[in-house]
Symmetry: C2
C-alpha cells in the first residue's frame, strides 16, 4: 500500500514534535511539515529537514489558493498550531476542503471539556470545529487529557524533579479527589498514528488516555516511588472560582496581553479539571468521544508510574514554553 | 413495567400535538403537559385535559425551584416550545438536572443543518444543546426534516390543495434537484414514542425520515397523482442569497419585529435546504446523527405519495400558524 501523505502544522511545538515522531516511527506515513516563512531558517526546522522530512513553506494567513495548492495530494492534514492562534486554522480548513484532503485533524490535543462556556480555549477550538462541519470536511478531533509532563508535583525536599518541570508545582485542588485523564506526551504521536489510519474514527471525537488519576493518587505514587514526603498547597474551590473571575476581568481589560491569556487558560483548566471534573472518560463518552483504549486494546501507553520512574532516572525532557 | 412518565411542553402546537398523540397511542407513557399560567384556560388545553392528560401549570421563566418540583419523578421531559422562545428552555434544563430527569428532549424537530452560522434558529437551539452538555444532563435531539404538510406545491389549476396549505407555494429553487429529508407531521409523535424508549438514542442526535425528495420529484409526484400541470416559480441561488442578506439587515434594524424573524427563518431554511443542501441523510450522519429508519426497520412512515393521496381525499389538516 502507498504511504499516506500527511501535512503537519506546528511540528516544532511539544505536541507537533510528538506527532512527527509517532508518524515517522509508525512507518506508514510520508510526512511533510508546514512552516511559516519567518520560521524557515530556524534550527528546529533544519533539524527536522535533516531527518528526510519535506518542509513546505507557506503563510496560513496568506491567500487561500496557496493553501489549496500545498494540500493537493495530501491525505491527512494535522494541525498542532499554538494555543493563541486557533482561529487561524479556518482558512487552512477551507483550503483543505477545496484540495480534497481526506481527513483534517484540527488542533484539539487537550483535556475533555464541554463545547462552550467553560474554557475559552475550547470555545475557540469549537469555532474551528463548527467551521469544519459547515464545510462538510472529513475530520477527526483527538483529545489527550493532560500530559504527565505537566501533571507531576515538584515539591520534593530533594528538588530532584525540578530539571523536568516547566514550572514548580505543589497544588492540590479542593479535596484532591477529582480523577483526570492523563497521558504521556511521548505517546501522543503514537496514538495519533493509529487514529488517523482508522476508518472508525472518521468524523468522530477520540480521547487517548494512559491513566485516570486524582491529585491525591498522583501525590501518593510520587511519594511511594521517591520515598520522600511532598509539600501540598491546598487550593479551595472558592479560590479556583476567584481565579477564573480575576482572569476574565484582566482579559477584558487588556485582551492582547499574552500573559493575561495564559493566566485565563490556567484558571479555566483548573476550573474544568478540578471543580467541574470534566476531564473524565464517562463525561467524554457522554459528549460523543470514542475511547482510544477500546479502539486499540493492544496499545500499551506509558503509565504515570513508568513516567515517574523515568523522571527519577533523569530521562524526562522538559517541554518547551509553547504548551499554553 | 411501569409506564414512563413524560412531561411535554408545547402540547398545543403542531409538533407538540403530534408528540402527544404518538405517546398516548403508543401506550407505554403516562403523559403530563406543561402549560403556562396564561394558557391554562385555553380551549385547546381543556380538550387535552378531557383526554385524561394531567395539566401542570408553571411559568418556565419563573423560579427554578418550581421547575425542579414539577420535574421530580419525571422520566423524560420533551420540549416542543415555539421557535421564538428557544432560549427559555435553559432554566427548564437546569431544573431537569436537579430533579434527576433521565432524558431531556430539547426542542429540535427541524431540518438537518450545521451547528452554527447557517440558520439563526439552529444557532439558538445549539446554545440550548451546549447548556445541556455543560449540565451533563442525559438528552436526545430529534430532528425530523421538513413536514409533508409544508412541502407540497399548491399551484394546481383546480386549487384543490389550498384547503390544507398554510401559505400558497409554487417555488422551485435553483435547479430543483437538491434532495431533502421530509416526513409526515402525523408521524412525528410515533417516531418520538419509539426514540425516547430506546437506550441506543441516549445522548445522541437522531433524524426521522419518510422520503428524501428533490423539489422536481415532489412536483412530478403531485402532477402524476392529480393529473394536473403545476405552475413553477423559479428562484435562483442568487435570489436565495439576496433574501438571506435582506432578512439579516432587517433583523438587525428591528430585532423585536416578529415578522422580520419569521422572514429570516424562511430565508435561512431556503439557503440551508436548497443552496447548501444540508438536509440530507449523508450529511446528517457526518454530523453524528443516527438514522431512525435504521434503528426501527419495522416502522412504516407515511410516505409523501400517501400524503398526497390523503390531500386529494380532503383528509389533511392545515397546521396552525405556530410552526416558525
Amino acid at each position: 500500500m502507498a504511504k499516506q501523505r500527511v501535512l503537519l502544522l506546528g511540528a516544532t511545538g511539544n505536541t507537533g514534535e510528538s506527532i512527527l515522531n509517532g508518524l515517522l516511527e509508525h512507518g506508514a506515513y510520508e510526512v511533510q511539515i508546514l512552516v511559516r516563512p519567518s520560521s524557515a531558517e530556524k534550527p528546529a526546522v533544519k533539524k527536522i529537514a535533516e531527518r528526510g522530512v519535506k518542509v513546505v513553506i507557506a503563510d496560513i494567513n496568506g491567500p487561500i489558493e496557496e493553501l489549496v495548492s500545498i494540500q493537493k495530494g495530501i491525505d491527512v492534514t494535522v494541525s498542532a498550531i499554538d494555543a493563541q492562534s486557533q482561529l487561524s486554522q479556518m482558512n487552512l480548513a477551507t483550503a483543505a476542503k477545496k484540495a480534497g484532503v481526506k481527513r483534517f485533524v484540527p488542533c484539539a490535543w487537550t483535556s475533555v471539556a464541554p463545547p462552550e462556556g467553560v474554557m475559552i480555549l475550547r470555545d475557540h477550538k469549537e469555532q474551528v470545529y463548527n467551521h469544519i462541519k459547515r464545510l462538510y470536511l472529513p475530520y477527526t478531533v483527538i483529545d489527550v487529557g493532560f500530559w504527565h509532563q505537566v501533571s507531576f508535583p515538584t515539591s520534593l525536599p530533594s528538588r530532584r524533579f525540578d530539571y523536568a518541570a516547566m514550572a514548580p508545582s505543589n497544588e492540590v485542588h479542593g479535596d484532591g479527589e477529582r480523577p483526570n485523564i492523563i497521558g504521556d506526551l511521548r505517546d501522543l504521536g503514537r496514538w495519533t498514528a493509529r487514529i488517523i489510519a482508522d476508518e472508525r474514527t472518521l468524523n468522530k471525537y477520540v480521547f487517548t488516555c494512559s491513566d485516570v488519576l486524582s491529585e491525591n493518587q498522583i501525590y501518593s505514587i510520587v511519594e511511594e516511588l521517591t520515598g520522600e514526603k511532598l509539600e501540598r498547597n491546598q487550593i479551595s474551590y472558592e479560590e479556583i472560582e476567584a481565579k477564573v473571575k480575576e482572569a476574565k476581568i484582566n482579559g477584558e481589560k487588556e485582551p492582547d496581553n499574552v500573559m493575561n491569556r495564559v493566566m485565563r487558560f490556567k484558571a479555566d483548566y483548573d476550573y474544568s479539571k478540578y471543580l467541574r471534573g470534566d476531564n473524565q472518560p464517562e463525561y467524554a463518552k457522554y459528549l460523543g468521544y470514542l475511547d482510544a483504549r477500546e479502539l486499540y486494546p493492544d496499545f500499551r501507553p506509558i503509565t504515570f508510574r513508568e513516567f515517574v520512574k523515568d523522571l527519577l532516572e533523569g530521562k524526562i525532557v522538559k517541554p518547551h514554553y509553547d504548551f499554553l
